[in-house]
């Protein structure tokens, strides 16, 4: 019996070996520290381990299959809390000279010990594009299924865009929209537009940025101020500008810097000292982040990730500052 099992495993390995030749896996770990405005640690340090894999199976001239998964487990030694997240995603791709299609099915899970129930997110996308060497028109209908604190939220989303290569710049205007169905006939809808710009100047440097807005509407309401009427929540306009530059310092050392800027306008009034103001609530978010990656060897890299978050708002309870630094190591094999 044992011999049969070994034979089966060997046959499976021999059969799959040519396909998994391009597999890639990684494991890593690190710790995180968050600091509040008065520079005292706000949350306790945590330790985490993460691991993942990618399998790429090219089949023939036009087809390929991709399977990827990752997981992370965090532990907060002082409070004894823990958290975990994982995802698994697979896709089938067909690529010809001028047509590209990809069906992706993915599922992710996120849970921390202080949450009542885990958060699940299922996502299926059919990405279709018509390509020439310098232009790509694409459309991507998506079906999503969220389970948030045991509430099922199905939804339909879609993206339509065009990407064009102008010398060393890729410009990508895109429009998107979607509707999510909540229990008791409640709905969340969103639509938006953005333009992405990526610059590949041909030197060890690259710049990418996106500029756009989204409008989120929801029929959900919540009592935000005691004694006042329930207010619409999850209803806002978000304007954003998210640039990122990456460059190489040496062959082994690369650096990325991203200072994203988001401006949100909530439709309900600002809340000051538990009273509701008639002016809309606004929130300005600025989160500069720097990431330094050292490729210690062909299989091991160290990453230092440090970022601040500044939030300004006319609702003082929303204002804040935090600083997070993470050091992690990763083995790729």
């Amino acid at each position: 019996m044992k011999k049969t099992k070994i034979v089966i495993v060997v046959i499976l390995f021999v059969t799959l070996a040519p396909f998994v030749a391009e597999a890639d896996g990684y494991v890593g770990g690190g710790s995180e520290l968050t600091v509040s405005p008065d520079f005292t640690p706000q949350s306790v340090p945590n330790l985490f381990v993460e691991g993942g894999f990618d399998f790429f199976f090219p089949v023939g001239e036009n087809w390929s299959f991709f399977l990827t998964g990752a997981g992370e487990f965090s532990w907060f030694p002082i409070t004894g809390d823990f958290g975990g997240k994982a995802y698994l995603s697979g896709d089938a791709t067909y690529r010809s000279q001028s047509f590209f299609s990809r069906l992706t099915v993915s599922s992710s899970f996120d849970h921390t010990s202080w949450q009542k129930a885990p958060y699940w997110y299922q996502f299926s996308e059919l990405y279709l594009s018509l390509d020439s060497s310098r232009v790509s028109y694409y459309v991507a209908p998506v079906i999503v299924w969220e389970i948030d604190e045991n509430i099922h939220i199905p939804g339909i989303e879609g993206t339509f865009g065009l990407a064009a290569d102008i010398q060393t710049i890729v410009l990508n205007p895109e429009i998107e929209g979607g509707i999510h169905f909540l229990p008791e006939m409640e709905r969340r809808t969103f639509y938006g537009s953005l333009i992405e710009l990526s610059w590949y100047p041909g030197v060890p440097f690259t710049l990418s940025s996106s500029l756009g807005f989204t409008r989120n509407d929801s029929t959900e309401t919540e009592t935000l101020v005691q004694g006042e009427e329930p207010l619409p929540v999850n209803t806002y306009i978000n304007l954003f500008f998210r640039p990122k530059i990456s460059f190489l310092i040496t062959q082994k050392l690369d650096l990325s810097f991203s200072p994203p800027l988001d401006f949100m306008i909530m439709d309900h009034g600002a809340i000051v000292e538990e009273t509701l103001q008639s002016t809309p609530e606004y929130k300005l978010y600025f989160g500069p982040q720097i990431e330094i990656n050292l490729q210690v060897s062909k299989i091991f890299s160290l990453t230092l990730d440090s970022g601040c978050e500044f939030i300004w708002s006319n609702s003082p309870s929303e204002e804040g500052f935090s600083w997070t630094t993470t050091l992690s190591g990763r083995f790729s094999f």
Binding site: D165, E291, S332
Partner: protein, 246 residues
Amino acid sequence: MMIGSTTKSLQIGFLSVLLLLISVSLVWAENVWEKKDLLKWLDKETTPTQYKDFESDFFDLFTRNVTSPVVPDLLMERLYEGGAKRVPAERLLDGLSKEKERLQRVVRIVAGIGYTELSIDNLKPHVKALSIALRGDLTFSLVEEILEESFKNEYSLTVGVSACTTLFQISRITFLTEKDFLKLGNALLNSSLPASGYSSLTSVFIKGRGSRLKDSDIMDIIVRILERGGGLVQIEREISRRTRRR
């Protein structure tokens, strides 16, 4: 009769002047190295005096067994560079001798493949670029194979050299092997990308690196997309998609 002979003399005179002008401009345009260039430089006040003691060695290097006029011309540029940096004469001679060997070999490869109908001025920047690439991680055999592929596709030497220069830039920032470079070079030369766009791939590697993708994965993405007729747009979208997964 008189008027006819004057006109004829004028025509001959005009043609002679024209021919003289053409030959002068050709010599000037070809910018061929002459011994006096070296002498003039050695006598210059700014040139380190110690180089004067090695005058015959310098002359030997510039004149003995030189297979193309491009070689001494490019060596002269390296000499100016070394002199400006005050490199000791023996070290400079040693460096120049290695550079001469490299340049001669590049000229041989280029001519051997079939790029023969090039003027000195057209050939010079290409030989210079290839020599720089060979000072890095690229090997002669790789450069030869890439140029052969370029010639086979009936591309000008500029296209082949652009591919080699791009591979050289990528070799400075990645851990790819020679086999990978050959695959990438062939994909570039058979792609729909214009030669002026090849170097953008250097920045693509930076973006992929910043997204924690392995060099070999970035290369696979690029090669597969180029082989299917795609370009920078499709590469950019695929790299961004892989980034979102992580």
